[in-house]
Symmetry: C2
Subunit: 197 residues, 2 copies
DNA sequence: ATATTCATGTAACAAGTTACATGATTAG
DNA sequence: CTAATCATGTAACTTGTTACATGAATAT
């Protein structure tokens, strides 16, 4: 239901093609609303049919033609109305956590590797967020920006995403400590001679 | 795909009915894998058909009969194998954030109310998590528990959920500050006489 | 009396995922 | 020469949501 509004909200930054939106959703929007390019194309068709956005075909010479979508006044109204209704609860689907839930049945070393790989991916993500943030701030301090800028929604959601990933890092590191401590204890209990260097 | 494994992981705590699982998913599992009771019943049927869990019908006198499900060795193996594969990226769907993304088109006062209501819901959630945690620790300190306990997966995922919500609180409070600062500035710019106390 | 809890389910629908297809262009 | 980028789409499939139904028991 609200992929619809996520798309409308993304179009507040100006017109965009499906392809553009797919990229935006991949980096910035994914923090709070995941979707695949296929879903976007389908949703864009629907929104255009319903008159919430309008498409403008841009002929290109050396590239496939593209459709640039922009909000209509109807679309803007719909988005406004949406912001007045209470949000439904957040849904998270985190496969790593399912594996952690079951970790007591798993190989501790394999779990450690999963977490380490996860930490790497988060680190990439955080770097991308930081670049996006710098581009938004454009030399201003955060406090200046938050008071002066016309739009602060996208900045605030980005900060939410960043905080989420930073928290994730802390949790991963803590979990690695726990794994190490339990491994050490098991090692000690089963005799210090076994598997020794 | 991994609702399947979330269910298997939940059954590591011993046999449970669909109704039991629905409650567990509502409080503890929802942190990292949301699903409705209907999905659970459907999944339980499938898992039983595939031999990953087995059902035992318990006749009850004053209550409807219930089916208690438990892991089979095959199910346990499947779960073990699952923990060895790299997790897919986390997906989040947070309607509040969609509204925040569009907040610059919205009524600031309405947004403030959304956030305040959100804070209340989080506070309830955190209280439930705290009770669950106390029950798990059962008098021990966290460090004692994490070293000694047989199962630490469920504790670690719970702590992840708690950290997520605590971060959420910080973000909400920060956002309320931003809203207040921007409201004050707009008030000042449009003349201090208007709407004065 | 009325609402909530226990315990399950069916059916219809909406949303999300995956695989595949096209076809030129540019960067390495 | 290979891979990635641009730009879209169809089709098949899997998941997830919503509404509804049953029916007794207990708590308020």
């Amino acid at each position: 239901m609200s992929l619809k509004y996520a798309v409308l909200a993304a179009l507040l930054n100006g017109e965009a093609s499906g392809y553009d939106l797919a990229k935006v959703f991949d980096v910035a929007v994914a923090n709070f609303w995941s979707s695949t390019p296929q879903q976007l194309y389908r949703e864009l068709d629907r929104l255009a049919t319903d008159g919430l956005i309008e498409a403008r075909v841009v002929q290109q010479e050396r590239r496939p033609n593209k459709r640039m979508f922009s909000l209509t006044p109807t679309g803007r109204d719909a988005l406004h109305t949406f912001t007045l209704t209470p949000p439904r609860p957040t849904t998270i689907r985190d496969e790593l956590m399912v594996k952690i839930q079951a970790m007591d049945e798993a190989d501790p070393d394999a779990v450690r590797v999963l977490i380490e790989e996860c930490l790497e991916r988060i680190s990439d993500k955080l770097a991308r967020y930081e670049r996006l943030r710098d581009r938004m701030l454009d030399g201003r301090t955060e406090d200046e920006y938050l008071i002066e800028a016309e739009q602060v929604g996208p900045y605030l959601t980005l900060m939410r995403g960043r905080a989420f990933e930073e928290e994730n890092v802390r949790w991963c590191e803590r979990t690695l400590e726990v794994l190490a401590a339990r491994a050490a204890r098991r090692g000690a209990a089963h005799g210090s001679a076994a598997q020794g260097g």
